[in-house]
Each structure stands twice: as C-alpha cells, then as structure tokens.
C-alpha cells in the first residue's frame, strides 16, 4: 500500500513538474523558431515557391546540402500566394536571406534586394542578354536568373486534324476553334481558372505593351479593349474550361482530356510527352485585332539576396556558388524535372533535350515571339490588370472603363517608384 501511495505522490509531483516545464518550454518556443538550425558556419534560409514537378524539392535541398560554407534551410512555400508570403516575410527578422522571385523594381527601391553586380559581372556575357536587361537598374544587376519559362498554348495535332482546324493565327480563330472542339466531354480551351495568366499575352498580341520604354502605361488601347470583349465572349460561350480542379500551370487538364487547347508552360512538357507521346503541338497567343503580333510570355525565376540579411556576404557567396559556379546543378535544375530554358548560353547550347521535337518548338517560340519580364512592371500593377480580367472577362464590366481604372492605379504606382 505504502509503495502505491509513494507512486501516487510521485506521479503528481512529476506531472506538476512536467506541466511547468511544458509551459516554460512553450514560452521558450515563442519567437525562438526561426527555421534556422544551429550548427557550424553561417545559417541561411532560402524561400522557394512549390514547383509542381516531382523531385524538385529534393533537388533544391540536395544542392543546398552540397554547399559546405553555410547551413542552408529551405522553405518550400505551397499555395498560390507565394508573393504575399514573401513580401510579408521580408519585413520581419525571420526574412529569408536568399529567395527566388521575378525582377520587380519596388524590391530595389525599398532596399529589399542586394546588388549582385560583382558576382554576375565576370560571367555576364554567358547570360541571355534579355535576362541581364530585365534585372538591371541604373547599371546594377540585382538578381541571378535560374530558369527561363516560356508559356504558350498546347494542342493535339491529331485532334485538330480530325476537326479540320488549322492552328489559330488570330483570337477570332482561337475562339472559333474552341467552339468546334467543344463536345459534351471536352471543352475547347483552358486559359487558367481566373484567366489572369493570359493578361500579358493579350496586351502584347494586341500590339500594345505593359509599359513604354520610358515607363508610362501602354496597355490602355482600343485593341486591348476589343480583345477583352472577345475573351468575354469566349468566357460565356460555354467552350472554355472553368473551375478545373487543377490550374493552368499543371498539365493535367490537357493530358486528361478535359480541354483540347491549354495555356501552359514549357516546364510541363515532360509530363505531357509521357502522357500523350508526340501528339502535342504548341502555338503562341494569337494576334488580337489587325495591328497585333503573336506573343509568348517568357517568364521564369531568379535568385535574389535579401539586402537586410545579417549574413549578406554569406548569402551572396551561396548564390554565387550555386547559380553562377555550379553549372552541373544549374543544368540539372533546368532539364531534369520540368523543362526550362537555361539562361546561361553555355548550358543552353549543350542542352540536347531541348534540341529536338516539342522542346525545340518551344525554344523557337521563346526566341521568336517571347516577351521577357519588365522590371518596372511590379506586383501592384499586375494586380491592377488582374482586376481588369476579373471585372471585364469574368464579370460583364466595360473593358474601356476597366482599363482606364487600371491605368490610373498603374500611374500612381509609377509616380511612387520613379517620381
């Protein structure tokens, strides 16, 4: 009996002590978890958005592990609001030291990204010059391009042949093709669930641009408004795939036969070829109106260094090591998972996977019709045009009025950035 009592008493003491410790531990954990692991050398945190292709996360972590001079922790950010998570994190003490993003000038004006000219300069001539231009402000280069991602339409030539359709050259022809290709089971075309992914190609194909060379809004034209009206027609026609379980960047809607034509990126080619063999073709966003020219989005991702990082030099050293020096990893990253065009000419030239078949066609469109990032076109401006797409394509608002509203917002942003 007495032994039992002792046990009982002990248990209570132990429990109380444990609770106290748990409480203390819980408090200690507050603010202590920065995602950095302690260890020898500098600790760096890097942010990546979640790539869809299998093996990408492992690859990024493998490269990081191979680096000996610092401990790298990778945050693999899922969800469709990477930019919001990144922007919010950049303001805090837990900000990443190194992160991937697109070149946007507000990051430079607000002093959030570091000047990387010194690490890029020696190999500058080996980069695609358009990628250098899109990362340069006042002669300084702010990011290292990792991959170039052209985006265009995918279709199946056999399906086109059966329906006796030629590859669309104009937006009217695309809408007509979507109509002919729509059956009870397959929709004619898929432009993403919120259509915003084709906002830039629509502007370019209408002969306009996001901004002029001297940073004035250039997208508010009659041809763009006309294109929006045509897209509204397509949206309401019932020939457009809407609310697909997967979005435009994922090839599933196309490979599973939910849509006959899909706007997607070069990265999806391996998955598409695996599913559909060589029965795949690509074409650029068709002409809008008479003055336009077909266009392709040359997107992509670049590495940036947080200018406010406590380990600025270590972060720069890591970016130089991986994205300048380690060509083997750069090649692996661009070609082993999804297909991307390496921005380094020396790697692109030896990329045999991109030399034949569908990938070669993608590269051709990239070179012939591609529009690269414009560093002056920032997230706030992108969001202003997102609203135009939502209001005048998905809702029935007047395109001209919407474009004018967006122009006002973009103007206000430009004033803040350039004075």
């Amino acid at each position: 009996m007495s032994a039992m009592r002792n046990v009982n008493w002990d248990r209570r003491t132990v429990l109380r002590a444990a609770m106290g410790m748990a409480a203390a531990g819980g408090l200690a954990a507050c603010g202590g978890n920065t995602g950095r692991s302690s260890g020898s050398g500098d600790s760096l945190v890097q942010y990546f958005h979640a790539y869809g292709e299998a093996g990408t996360e492992q690859a990024i972590k493998r490269y990081a592990k191979a680096y000996k001079d610092a401990n790298i922790t990778t945050q693999w950010i899922t969800g469709n609001n990477f930019e919001q998570k990144l922007f919010a994190a950049l303001l805090t003490k837990n900000a990443p030291d190194v992160f991937e993003f697109h070149p946007q000038i507000q990051l430079i004006k607000s002093g959030q990204v570091a000047d990387l000219t010194d690490i890029i300069e020696p190999v500058k001539s080996d980069f695609n010059q358009a990628d250098i231009t899109s990362h340069t402000v006042d002669g300084k280069i702010y990011g290292v391009r990792m991959i170039d991602d052209p985006q265009f339409f995918f279709y199946r030539p056999s399906v086109f042949e059966k329906a006796k359709i030629e590859v669309p050259q104009t937006l009217e022809e695309l809408i007509e093709a979507a109509d002919k290709l729509t059956t009870s089971k397959v929709k004619g075309a898929f432009l993403g669930n919120d259509i915003t992914t084709v906002q830039n190609p629509l502007i370019w194909s209408a002969g306009a641009d996001t901004l002029t060379a001297d940073n004035k809004p250039a997208f508010n034209t009659d041809a763009v408004a006309e294109g929006l009206t045509q897209l509204r027609g397509l949206f309401t026609s019932g020939n457009l795939l809407l609310d697909s379980p997967t979005d435009w960047w994922d090839p599933s809607a196309f490979t599973q036969g939910l849509t006959a034509i899909q706007w997607c990126g070069m990265w999806a080619m391996p998955a598409m070829i695996e599913a559909l063999g060589d029965d795949i073709g690509v074409f650029p966003f068709p002409k809008v109106g008479s003055a336009g020219k077909q266009s392709v989005t040359n997107g992509g991702w670049s590495m940036f260094v947080n200018a406010k990082s406590e380990n600025l030099e270590a972060a720069k050293a890591y970016v130089k090591w991986l994205w300048i020096d380690q060509k083997k990893y750069q090649e692996d990253w661009a070609l082993s998972y999804g297909f991307h065009i390496p921005p380094r000419t020396s790697i692109a030239q030896s990329a045999t996977k991109l030399k034949t078949g569908l990938p070669a066609e993608g590269v051709k469109l990239f070179n012939e019709f591609g529009h690269f990032d414009n560093i002056g076109w920032t997230q706030a401006m992108i969001a202003a045009v997102n609203d135009v797409m939502a209001n005048s394509v998905r809702k029935n608002a007047d395109p001209k009025a919407q474009l004018a509203t967006a122009e006002k917002k973009v103007d206000a942003e430009l004033k803040k950035l350039f004075g």
């Binding site: 922007f87 919120d194 609310d243």
Partner: protein, 321 residues
C-alpha cells in the same frame, strides 16, 4: 428529481486510494497553481493579442508602407483613406450579405440537429459525434475539398454530376460570378463546418429544460410538436440562442479562409478581413491603412455586439427572462 442527484449516482466512485489523503499540496499553494494554469495563457494573450492590437493602433497613425517600424506621422489620414475606400465599404456590404445568409441558416440547422439528436432513443452518442466531427476540420482543408471535388466546374464534380441527372448543364460554381453561385459554395462549407459545434450548445440547453414544464404544458392541453416547441422549448432556449447568434455574427466577421481560398483573384465577394489582408499584406503592403481598417472593424464588432446585447438581452441573466 433534479439532475444533480442523477449525475451523482451515475458518476463513478472516486478512487479509494486518495480518499484518506487531504490534497494539501494543491490547496497550500493555490496562488502558485493559479499562475501556473493562467500564466502561460496570459502571456500568450499579451504577446499575441494585446501587443499586436497596441501596435496596430500605433501603425494606424503612420505612413507605414513596406515597413512595420514607421517614422512618418500622418494623424488620421489612414482613417480618412480607409473610410472613403470603396473596396473597404463594399467589403462591409459583402459581410452583411454573408451574415444574412449564414447566421439564420446555421442557427436553424444546428437547432434542428439538436432537436433530432435529442429525440433519439439509441445511438445518440454516435450521431452527436458524427454531427460534431466537421468542427475538427480546418477551414482551409474543407474549402479545398469544396473547391476541387464538390463544386469544381467539370462534368465529374459532385455538384455537377447531381444536377446532370436532372439534365441541367454544368455550372462554373466559382469561376463565373453571374449568377453568383459562389455564395452557395461559401455558405454550405461554413454551414457544414460550424453547425455541429452549435448543435452541442443547443443540445446542452435542451437537456437543461426542466421536464416539469413539458408535463405542465401537457396537462394544460398543449399539443406536442409545434405548439410545445413554440411556447416551451424556444423561449427556454432564448439565452442559448442569443449567445449562438452573437458567436455566429462574430465568426462571420472573422471569415477569411474560405473566401480567400475559394475566390482567389476575384474582385467580388471579399469580406473585410480579406480586403484588409490585401491592403496590408498584398502588393501595396500598406500597414498603416490596414491597421486603421482593422481598428474600424474592431469598433464595428464591439458596437454590433453591444447593440445586439441590448435588443436580445444577452448577459441579463436568467431571472429577467
């Protein structure tokens, strides 16, 4: 027969071992125990609730773009901006529409479920658990299920399959705002998630209504069913109903997850928190205006709660009913 005695009989006898031992340790240091149990919570409350509220108040008087440690004092400019912002005012309209849908439906649904479960003679615990289970699901997960499998726009989505049986064309529930089917998706997901929880509250209240009232009503000739429900059950549930409606309204004010996930880059159907999120954490990162909006919203919630308390008698106590 009062419920207390039944409970006393039903509850298991306390363990014999501890019977002869006064629990001295616990009683002697009650102050220590008080702080042990409330301390962590209190510190959490201060660090994660009061400090941020104070900081918001501070930020709301500054021009705070791309920074949370601003230096440019602008007085009430942020408040002027947020109150004249059409998007913010629209978000209050969106909230009102949402609350008008969700509060009555959840109230009715959870009360209905509670009445059904309360009348069960067997498997009551099973159904109680089944209806309560969705409460444990996260809003984000449920919203994704609603978006990707139940209300997706393709022919094999659950909702489209069902309407397909009746020969109705596929509907893009979320993509096409005209007609605004997105409200159906938003309201049903929240209804599913929160009804079970409020059902438990109603169930507890139902079990607290004295049997004698029903007996007396039966003797006075009240018919079982609607008449008894209308004149006995419903008035007896008044306090719980008031609390439930209040909680539902506050929950509706706080709605964020499902709107954010389901509507994505839409310009419609944005409740206040999504609007403030876009303002503070979106492309503009205007923390000053975002904080001002958050405080305006807090003031609104306080006002509505007080007003509702006034008309429905929340917190007035049992005797005043």
């Amino acid at each position: 027969m009062s419920t207390t005695t039944t409970r006393g009989v039903a509850s298991p006898a306390p363990a014999k071992v501890s019977k002869d031992r006064p629990r001295r340790g616990l009683r002697a240091s009650s102050t220590f125990n008080f702080w042990l149990f409330t301390g962590p919570f209190l510190i959490g409350l201060i660090v994660f609730v009061f400090v941020p509220i104070g900081w918001s108040l501070y930020l709301s008087f500054f021009e705070a773009r791309f920074t949370v440690t601003p230096s440019e004092f602008v007085g009430l400019e942020n408040y002027r901006m947020i109150l004249s912002d059409t998007d913010f005012r629209n978000s209050l309209v969106t909230f009102t529409v949402f609350a008008a849908f969700i509060v009555p439906t959840t109230w009715a649904m959870s009360l209905g479920l509670a009445l059904l479960v309360n009348r069960l003679r067997f498997m009551r615990a099973f159904f109680r658990s089944v209806f309560f289970l969705p409460t444990a699901v996260s809003y984000a997960a449920a919203a994704l299920i609603w978006k990707m499998s139940i209300f997706n726009g393709v022919r094999f989505g659950l909702a489209n399959t069902v309407i397909g049986w009746f020969g109705v064309e596929n509907i893009a529930w979320l993509g096409n705002p005209d007609p605004p089917w997105y409200w159906l998706v938003i309201v049903t997901v929240r209804l599913w998630l929160q009804s079970g929880f409020y059902m438990i509250l109603f169930l507890a209240a139902l079990q607290n209504i004295p049997r004698e009232l029903y007996e007396a009503a039966a003797i006075d000739g009240a018919k079982p069913g609607w008449q008894t429900f209308r004149y006995i059950t419903l008035p007896q549930l008044r306090a719980t109903s008031t609390a439930v409606i209040l909680l539902l309204l506050i929950a509706a004010y706080q709605a964020f997850d499902e709107f954010f996930i389901l509507l994505g880059k839409a310009t419609w159907g944005m409740p206040p928190l999504v609007e403030l999120y876009k303002m503070a954490l979106g492309e503009n990162q205007n923390y000053g205006a975002g904080s001002a909006g958050a405080l305006v919203l807090t003031a609104l919630i306080c006002l509505v709660t007080l007003f509702q308390g006034k008309i429905m008698g929340f917190g007035r106590g049992e005797e005043s009913q």
